[in-house]
Amino acid sequence: MDLNLDAPHSMGTTIIGVTYNGGVVLGADSRTSTGMYVANRASDKITQLTDNVYVCRSGSAADSQVVSDYVRYFLHQHTIQLGQPATVKVSANLIRMLAYNNKNMLQTGLIVGGWDKYEGGKIYGIPLGGTVVEQPFAIGGSGSSYLYGFFDQAWKENMTKEEAEVKIIYA
């Protein structure tokens, strides 16, 4: 079997973000693969950007980590200058800025989810290319192909947190 341990670490991921009547729930699997080998079976693909905004990462592990690090840094400065927590929209836009302007070099799809006092719980999907799409729920990563049908049928507005969590774990 061809192990090819020099293959770039890609995540082979499933990531999900769902809004419910009070905020957002984010979910992700924990496998990072290098070719056929599972490099890390306990990865944490949900990364914190601020107290109130998290991001689910998919695609190239390195690219998504470095983008998250930059955006966390920008948001930290922004929070200090603003004097109050950053909004989810601003976080999504910062990610978009990096994703769009470096689209030739980056290979990462992200789902930004969080809560702020102006808009409540919000989910923004940022696929390859740097498009920003605000959605009531978002799925991403190579594993998400199997979930389009499931969520089209299972999603409904104003779920409770428990209902949302159950759906995500099932998915």
Partner: protein, 245 residues
């Protein structure tokens, strides 16, 4: 490889490295736009789909946006580039308003600006992967024009992008005439959009129609078209073919 951090110097977001941007390929794309001039102004139609290669990933993308008071921009092609163009136009409109001189950018000016942007990007081998449709009304004059990703730009009484070029244009050439009423205009657009729905694989049955008149821009709520599937052969499919192959 350095990681370019964009620096916003009030004009546009530039990259520090000169070489890193070359010909791209689109990721999330919108399909056709169809637009016509009518009695009171311009009508434009688009569906709300965003395709990711061959999969229809997003079904709620608005591909038509108002620009200033007098214009409407519709885009097909890469959605992230369309979002970037909207940012450029935001800046343009903001600066225009800041003059506070009673003048406002009309559709002709916006179209010209977009043509320059698209053509210059093409010259740098780094195109914005869109075909844009710009419609508007100012001082009673209707305007409808198109710019492609390579900078080809023109105006006409009716335009279409993508598949619409092949499927909608012939219908418009036959059935468009000056001074269409609003209802007739909408019917004509719906006829084109229905053909596109049947024959364009990346089209979805969720469309919006936008209207620009002297009063301003309105974009309709999304709705769907009726389609015809009552072919005789489907009514009794097993007649004459009992059992399997």
């Amino acid at each position: 490889m350095t990681f370019t951090i964009p620096i916003d110097n009030g004009d546009s977001v530039k990259n520090a490295e000169a070489d890193s941007q070359r010909t791209l390929y689109p990721y999330v794309t919108g399909t056709s736009i169809v637009a016509i001039k009518y009695k009171d102004g311009v009508l434009m139609a688009s569906d709300m789909g965003g395709s990711y290669g061959s999969t229809l990933r997003y079904k709620n993308i608005e591909r038509m946006k108002a620009i200033g008071k007098h214009s409407l921009l519709g885009a097909s092609g890469e959605i992230s580039d369309f979002q970037e163009i909207l940012r450029y136009l935001d800046e343009l409109v903001l600066n225009d308003n800041m003059w506070d001189d009673g003048n406002s950018l009309g559709p002709k000016e916006v179209h010209n600006y977009l043509t320059r942007v698209m053509y210059n990007r093409r010259n740098k081998f780094n195109p914005l992967w869109n075909t844009l449709v710009l419609g508007g009304v100012k001082n009673g004059e209707s305007y409808l024009g198109m710019v492609s990703m390579i900078g080809v730009s023109f105006e006409d009484n009716h335009v279409a992008t993508g598949f619409g070029n092949h499927l909608a244009r012939p219908i418009l050439r036959d059935e468009w005439h000056a001074d269409l009423s609003f209802e007739d205009g909408v019917k004509l657009l719906e006829k084109c959009m229905r053909v596109l729905l049947y024959r364009d694989r990346s089209a979805i049955n969720k469309l919006q129609i936008a209207k620009i008149t002297e009063e301003g821009v309105t974009v309709s709520q999304p709705y769907s078209l009726n389609t015809f599937w009552e072919f005789k052969a489907f009514h009794n499919p097993t007649a004459g073919a009992e059992g399997s192959w």
